[in-house]
């Protein structure tokens, strides 16, 4: 409780010191707001509305909530407790990219899990206990530059490979924020998109992720002993897949072999891989040609092609947290607010700022989400209360790994991070 009181004070101070820097979201007074306080008894306070920005800031200064959210939806009466009576007017199209939902190799180093059912523990990304199969896992998910880079790469891919070329989305209508933890939010503020139903939103998400793709409809078929593939002239996913295959075929043989043998990505038999390598130049000519598409030289087995194309779709598609886009009543983190699990700022980013943005070591001060860096070097004493805490690299300096009972001295921003993560207490 002492820790929470301390963090609450720090958060209040942040809102007080930065009252003019907290941005105003569009159509502010039509948004519903929600807050998660530090008090563990209260889960979330929602159905709140603010007439103006000043009232919101005052609320943040007075309460210093752990998490702050606003709706993607617009309502006539955002404060109404009953969703049916809120007067729904539409919802921004929101895409959440969070490394929690996809694999990155760095998770093998820094994500720790413990099965509450059978006691087994380990590192990496698991959905259920590999021993007993139960879902009751306690997880300690960490962050590093690698996984945040992976999330950023997905956002950039989303914009340049899908939103602009396929959906012709106006850049001016795209708002991007760093979530303050393990990902990014992308919001499209467009009246036509706001009118979409959940089913219609799902269709867009399926397009972006490649879910429900039918290789047969795109052109893959078996005739006798021959396999006929896609034409690069077929607009849409067939073109995307053809381009990706072309990219792979242009790689060196060693790179291709390494990629196709990676069991995390592909599940191909050796025969397929060997043929792919042996005939890579011939296959490249076929893929590039508008008049040939006999893929039999690599394999005449349709299932082998499914095993190849499925992971290709996964590589092209975007890793998104689907329910966030489909659920029109979701709340998302308010830009400029603090993330209660890290103490980092939810940072708004302009389109041209995303490429160079580095949340754990940002050089541009106004974009820096690490807000608790003291101008005067202050050291805080903490005790580790979690059995294993992975190493943390922030602002170019690495702290940890730590073990239960370790007494440590760390700079203020690291202390806030470890306290927010719930792995340490002040001493």
């Amino acid at each position: 409780m002492k820790t929470f009181e301390y963090l609450k004070r720090r958060f209040k101070e942040y809102y007080k010191d930065n009252r003019d820097k907290i941005p105003l979201v569009s159509l502010f007074n039509q948004r519903e707001f929600g807050f998660i306080p530090w008090d563990r008894q209260i889960r979330m306070i929602r159905h709140m509305g603010f007439a103006n920005r000043e009232n919101l800031i005052q609320h943040l200064i007075n309460n210093g909530p752990r998490h702050v959210y606003s709706s993607g939806s617009l309502y006539l009466n955002p404060e109404n407790q009953d969703m049916k009576n809120k007067g729904y007017q539409g919802c921004d199209f929101i895409i959440d990219i969070d490394v929690d939902h996809f694999y990155t190799p760095c998770k093998e180093d820094h994500d720790i899990w413990y099965c509450k059912e059978c006691g087994k523990n380990g590192k990496g990304m698991v959905e259920k206990c590999p021993k007993c199969g139960k879902l009751k896992l306690k997880k300690l998910n960490w962050i590093c530059e690698e996984c945040l880079k992976a999330a950023k790469k997905e956002i950039i891919k989303l914009i340049y490979d899908f939103l602009i070329p396929d959906f012709n989305i106006d850049i001016e209508k795209i708002k991007i924020t760093f979530s303050g933890h393990r990902g990014y939010h992308l919001k499209i503020e467009d009246n036509d998109l706001r009118a979409l139903s959940s089913d219609e939103r799902r269709e867009i998400i399926d397009f972006i992720t490649g879910e429900g793709i039918s290789f047969e409809i795109l052109g893959l078929r078996k005739m006798g002993d021959n396999i006929f593939g896609f034409s690069a002239e077929t607009i849409g996913w067939a073109q995307k897949i053809s381009r990706r295959i072309e990219e792979i075929l242009k790689m060196s043989s060693i790179e291709i072999e390494t990629l196709l043998s990676d069991k995390r990505k592909f599940n191909l038999n050796q025969n397929f891989i060997e043929n792919f390598l042996n005939y890579k130049n011939n296959f490249l000519n076929i893929i590039k040609s508008n008049n040939m598409n006999n893929w039999t030289l690599v394999s005449s087995n349709l299932n082998a092609w499914y095993n190849f194309l499925g992971p290709i779709v996964k590589q092209i598609g975007i890793e998104v947290d689907e329910p966030v886009s489909i659920d029109i009543h979701r709340l998302i983190r308010y830009p400029g607010s603090l993330h209660g699990q890290t103490g980092f700022k939810v940072q708004e980013l302009l389109f041209d700022e995303i490429e160079t943005f580095n949340p754990l070591n940002e050089q541009v001060e106004k974009l820096d989400p690490i807000v608790f860096v003291s101008k005067v070097q202050t050291i805080q004493k903490l005790e580790i209360i979690e059995s294993n805490v992975p190493a943390t690299k922030i602002k170019g300096e690495t702290f940890g790994p730590y073990k239960l009972g370790d007494k440590i001295e760390v700079p203020h921003h690291i202390a806030v991070f470890l306290l927010c993560k719930g792995v340490a207490k002040s001493i």
Partner: protein
Amino acid sequence: MSGIYDLVKRYPWLPSLKTYYSDIASKNPLDFINEIFTSDKVEELKAKVLTVFNDALNNIEQLSEYELDEFNIFVYLLLKIILYILNNKVVSNRIANIYSKTTYNELNKENEYNLYYIYQDLNLEILFEEKPTIYKKLIVKEQKEIFKTNFKISYLDYLKLASNLKDEYRKLVNNAVLQGYVYIKPENINRLLQEYVRMKFLTQNGEISAELDKFKEKLFEIQEFKSFYDTIIAIWESKKEEFEYMIDISFKEGKDISETFPPCIKEILSKAQEGQNLIHTERLFILWFLNSLKYPEDKIINVFSTLPDFDREQTAYQVKYAMKKGYTPYSCKSLKSYNLCLAKEYKDKLCLEGYFSRLQDVQKDISHPLKYIEVKQYRGSKKLKKTENQP
């Protein structure tokens, strides 16, 4: 090329009906019924409406009469009023299906200019380009199949029309999307409009309410209408037996095993029971699934008997063929790819968490709906044994 005034006669569901035929379309339904049932058109109109009902309830694929004249407007409006007060899902589905199918065939006969006007009237952002675009190319051996079109529809309008159809051909991901538009042939747009028209007959059917009863009462004060309505009811009564086959899923050793069905199957059965249309993959799945459980042929056919386009003879042929071939029903992986998996929607624990295999001492995933039944039945038999052993 026709003007929109003429097109409205052919397609009375077009929004311009209210502009060009405001005297009919904007009328209070009571006044409308009163007026037409006292006019000299009434006999012809009644005959046309009865033909629609007879066609729909006789498993005919397309309306036997579809005159593209002003009568068409009256038929459409009268059908909607009758279906509203009838409030019968099976009948509504059948009328909606046959009417929309006929509309689709009629739309396909229209020239590109008329189609363009129709799309514009529906406020769809559809562009017509002088030069057709090749959007798909299939090459098999020496044969090339080239798909080209002059039409492209905004993806937002495409979604409005297509997102209800769970058909994998209509899924955005399997279509030619570029720069905010879906390249599409007019017959495919028309197929989407078929669904739009189908929904026009279904959206008004809600629960029986006091308001509906009051409306019905008022309408029945018009004697001529009341007796016409009774004729329709009589047609339905004489046919209803054909559509009210119980979906008997209690086969297999005389025990009701429907409780052990996974959510994907439960959902399809419930849709069929309501007379909703099933997409091709749903039909195949349920057929192969029931066949795997050794359901008798007639019981499988009856499952399909409530569908709007049911044809007993054709269904019997398809069921027999599938039984002979002995196809295996889709696995969970395939069901997911067809968007038919409902584990998450139903929050089904067995689907989501799998089961513990004592034999292998590991937690295993449910990878097939038949495995789901096996596990459920095993658990059921354990429970039964426990109850039997209790004093």
